[in-house]
């Protein structure tokens, strides 16, 4: 078995353990490349059965339109159950990154929204596509990561996790976040997308797009809700990660295929999180957000 085969087999193993030992699992589907790989692995893990859990998308109403179209197409094609949750308070207050700032926007839509959705579904296991190579506090997290009834992560007191013997036991209200891609790198993800021909949102591929400069990032103009200070210009860009469009920076790139992305990745000198506004609000901000229940 080669490297990708082993990663695949490990992830499938994780999916099966979690499902066999939980009552109400759910897959957190954020539409990005990691979610696409996660979903692909989930299908493999249970084939010929369908994945025995719904997908949950915590929507912010600020995602790229292409993401939503892609989501609805994939879910329809695969015949899966999709739960879309939008924090009703945010809807009522019209929370957005321009008036309320990226930190509050993210906290209210995503962190609080996720907690609401998990509570409503009484889910005891939530699969996520986080990888340890993404960020320093992720690098510390277990594959089966315990959450209190308040969805809190206690990084100073994680359960020991030995071999492949995952502890899935929780009291009512508590839950486990399960990360089948823990040991994958960004490059592994793209190589796997290439090998398995996994469909991903076209925004990952270079194209001429309308962009403006904002807070040091190259932001794509996805609709007319973003206040513009200068007229947008057209550039050949793509995205390394996807999120809310006003908070997600594009990179100049000519990579139009997965294999060109893989080539580009090998030579990359910056990390994928470079393009995310929410992550460098402050050093250590991811850990704090995670403690509060962020994904």
């Amino acid at each position: 078995m080669n490297h990708l085969d082993t990663l695949e087999a490990d992830s499938i193993d994780i999916f099966r353990e979690a499902v066999a030992e939980s009552e109400r699992p759910v897959l957190l589907y954020s539409i990005g490349k990691d979610s696409s790989v996660l979903l692909h692995l989930a299908r493999k893990a249970f084939y010929p059965s369908k994945p025995p859990f719904p997908l949950l998308h915590v929507d912010t109403t600020w995602k790229f339109r292409e993401m939503i179209a892609f989501r609805d197409r994939i879910v329809a094609e695969l015949g899966l159950e999709l739960i879309v949750h939008r924090n009703p308070e945010c809807v009522a207050l019209g929370i957005n990154p321009f008036d309320h700032g990226s930190a509050r926007h993210t906290d209210l839509w995503k962190t609080q929204g996720l907690r609401q959705a998990l509570d409503a579904g009484r889910f005891d296991v939530a699969f996520g596509g986080a990888r340890r190579d993404e960020e320093a506090s992720r690098a510390k997290e277990r594959v089966f990561s315990f959450r209190t009834a308040q969805h809190r992560w206690d990084p100073k007191n994680q359960r020991p996790e030995l071999w492949r013997l995952y502890n899935t036991r929780v009291a009512p209200g508590e839950s486990i976040r399960v990360f089948p891609l823990s040991n994958w790198t960004e490059l592994d993800v793209w190589r796997y997308v290439e090998r398995e021909r996994i469909p991903v949102v076209p925004l990952y591929f270079a194209a001429q797009r309308q962009v403006v400069d904002r807070d040091g990032l190259l932001i794509m103009v996805d609709d007319d809700r973003m206040p513009l200070v200068s007229p947008p210009r057209t550039e050949l860009v793509r995205f390394r990660t996807l999120g809310c469009y006003p908070l997600t920076g594009a990179v100049r790139s000519e990579a139009r295929t997965v294999s060109e992305i893989v080539e580009e990745m090998r030579a990359a000198t910056t990390s994928e999180r470079q393009g995310r506004l929410i992550d460098h609000d402050q050093s250590g901000s991811m850990e704090r957000k995670k403690q509060e229940g962020y994904f």
Binding site: A20, N167, T270
Partner: protein, 582 residues
């Protein structure tokens, strides 16, 4: 490119995180934005007066940065031309040993660091012991911080002498000496640099062996398909193979994956197996090569590492997860946090297993607390103590032979209750009746045994547990010898009585609760003990200042306020008769 999983370990502050940071930095594996963050963080929270503090690349938690120590394992991924690596940087602080064990459990190689100024510390030794216990065969010793000793060859060689047959590398993590390339600062050293050593480690693949497939999930999308989803843990599984599950055998009809059926699945693959016959396998079962299935047992000699502040209580009932099964578990010796020991352990149900040496997946288990659900311990199986499998050495004169000779089944009649409840009196009468009826009996009485076998034990909780453990073992031996064993002991703890029950077969244990309220027993006080305990002359007296946990489901309950001793004894004899024992 072959993967190497390794850890850095050793005592607190010896430079493990700095070394990993340096390794990533020097192999040009850092992204520009990570480097910029490192520079900023080094100025803000670094330990090196504003210079790059490489430890900050791995010490990613806020608390770690505040305290300047590693708390939990960080996993980092990198590759060189020659090899791909996953490194787990583990904490040296004793308090976080469980996190070191977590990192070590999946490693093939270990870099054991020590501070050249301090040499080998007790925590260095503990880590070395854990590394060897977990079966990590490749170890290099990095003698770090030599920059503070002017790269003294003498100091290095003195430390090296403590590790015969082990690669020792003189090093400075902060200065990058002998991390990637050789340094002119140690002209006297001609061994490998750390990276050279890591690239040269040859990971031996586990011997192929007979196939083992662990069932994780029964796959039943509809009435026409029934497959077993799981993983090949050993050997290679092939279509057409004859396999055994427990007592049944069948043939591998299909090996199903989403990419089509396979002719064979090598060790490590996650697949779904369809059998030719309608065999009822379930989660936790092992499909194994029919010619050479794994042994099945419920009592083992194992190495245990204890990971919880609350120490291991011998005889207490925990849970163990092994393979894809979770079963009741008890151990026999006490262990404190971070302690390592060899112990006799009991599973409440027999499990298929291999020794840890033969196969990590089928030879390892974790111990979970029933109440808190915490992971409290980890174990590695050395061998089975009482195998319930077919390969168990058959003794010519076995239990069955003794039953035929004696004309009755053996069993343990366990009388529990407060001091002065009437246990000994009733036990004596029962034995007299059985003896008269020609049964082979023996009576183990608490007071008598404390004069001999258990004369070294007092009345602390730990001693009471050990007292009962020994009696339970003796009683089990006597059952093997074919006797009806009457045990008359206060035996205050449920967990220990459960252990005694587990040591014999299911129909060979009869718990008799001699139920006498404390007030009544105290009033009878045949030996004057209650009076002395009340005066404070006897410490740890059951019912007074030491707890008694009454049985929840005894086979027999005797209410001694309603029954005379003779009536109680005949009730026991009648019940034994109805259980088919005499």
């Amino acid at each position: 490119m072959e993967l190497l999983r390794f850890i850095t370990c050793g005592s607190v502050d010896d430079g493990k995180s700095t070394l990993i940071g340096r390794l990533l930095y020097e192999s040009k594996l850092l992204y520009a934005d990570h480097l910029a963050a490192l520079e900023a963080d080094s100025r803000r929270v670094g330990t090196r007066g504003g210079e790059l503090d490489f430890a900050l690349l791995v010490d990613g938690l806020a608390a770690e940065r505040e305290q300047g120590i590693t708390i939990d394992v960080a996993y980092r991924f990198f590759a060189t031309e020659a090899r791909r690596f996953i490194v787990a940087d583990t904490p040296g602080h004793e308090q976080y040993t469980r996190n070191m064990v977590t990192g070590a459990s999946t490693a093939d190689a270990a870099v054991l660091l020590l501070d050249a100024r301090k040499g080998v510390l007790s925590q260095t030794r503990r880590h070395a012991r854990i590394v060897s216990l977990l079966g990590i065969r490749h170890v290099a010793v990095a003698v770090n911080k030599l920059d503070l000793l002017e790269y003294s060859q003498e100091v290095f060689e003195k430390i090296q002498a403590e590790f015969p047959d082990t690669t020792c590398i003189p090093m400075s993590a902060t200065e990058g000496v002998n991390v990637i390339g050789h340094s002119e600062l140690t002209p006297w050293y001609d061994g490998p640099t750390l990276l050279q050593w890591l690239e040269s480690v040859v990971v031996e693949t586990e011997e192929d062996g007979p196939s083992r497939f662990l069932v994780q999930w029964v796959n039943r999308p509809d009435a026409t398909f029934r497959g077993f989803s799981g993983r090949v843990l050993r050997g290679t599984l092939r279509q057409g193979d004859e396999v055994r599950v427990g007592e049944r055998t069948s043939t591998v009809d299909r090996i199903v994956t989403m990419d089509g059926d396979l002719a064979e699945a090598p060790k490590g693959s996650s697949v779904t197996v369809v059998l030719a016959d309608d065999v009822d396998a379930s989660r936790g079962d092992v499909l194994a090569a029919a010619s050479d299935p794994p042994a099945v047992a419920d009592a083992f000699q194992a190495h245990l590492v204890w990971l919880s502040e609350a120490g291991l209580m011998p005889g207490r009932r925990y849970l163990a997860k092994i393979g894809a099964r979770t079963v009741g578990f008890t151990a026999t010796k006490a262990l404190q946090l971070n302690e390592i020991g060899t112990d006799t352990v009991h599973f409440e149900a027999p499990v298929p297993f291999e020794s840890y040496r033969t196969n990590r997946d089928l030879g390892s288990f974790v111990v979970l607390d029933r109440l808190t659900n915490a992971t409290v311990g980890a174990g590695m199986i050395d061998c089975a103590l009482r195998s319930s499998n077919l390969r168990w050495q058959t003794l010519t004169v076995d239990k069955q032979a003794r039953i035929s000779r004696n004309g009755h089944r053996p069993c343990v009649v366990w009388l529990t209750g407060l001091s002065g409840a009437g246990k000994s009196t009733i036990a004596d009468l029962v034995e007299k009746a059985l003896h008269a009826a020609g049964r082979h009996t023996f009576l183990l009485d608490g007071d008598n045994v404390r004069h001999g076998l258990n004369s070294d034990l007092g009345f602390s909780d730990a001693d009471r547990v050990e007292n009962i453990r020994r009696i339970a073992e003796v009683a089990a031996l006597m059952v093997d010898a074919g006797l009806i064993v009457l045990v008359s002991f206060i035996s205050p703890f449920r967990a220990e009585r459960a252990l005694a029950r587990e040591l014999v077969a299911e129909n060979e244990f009869c718990e008799v609760y001699v139920d006498t309220p404390l007030a009544v027993a105290e009033q009878r006080d045949p030996k004057g003990l209650y009076a002395r305990a009340r005066r404070g002359e006897l410490a740890n007296f059951t019912g007074i200042d030491s707890p008694y946990e009454p049985p929840e489901n005894p086979e027999i309950r005797l209410d001694t306020t309603a029954l005379s001793p003779a009536e109680a004894a005949s009730a026991v004899v009648a019940r034994l008769r109805s259980l088919g024992i005499c």
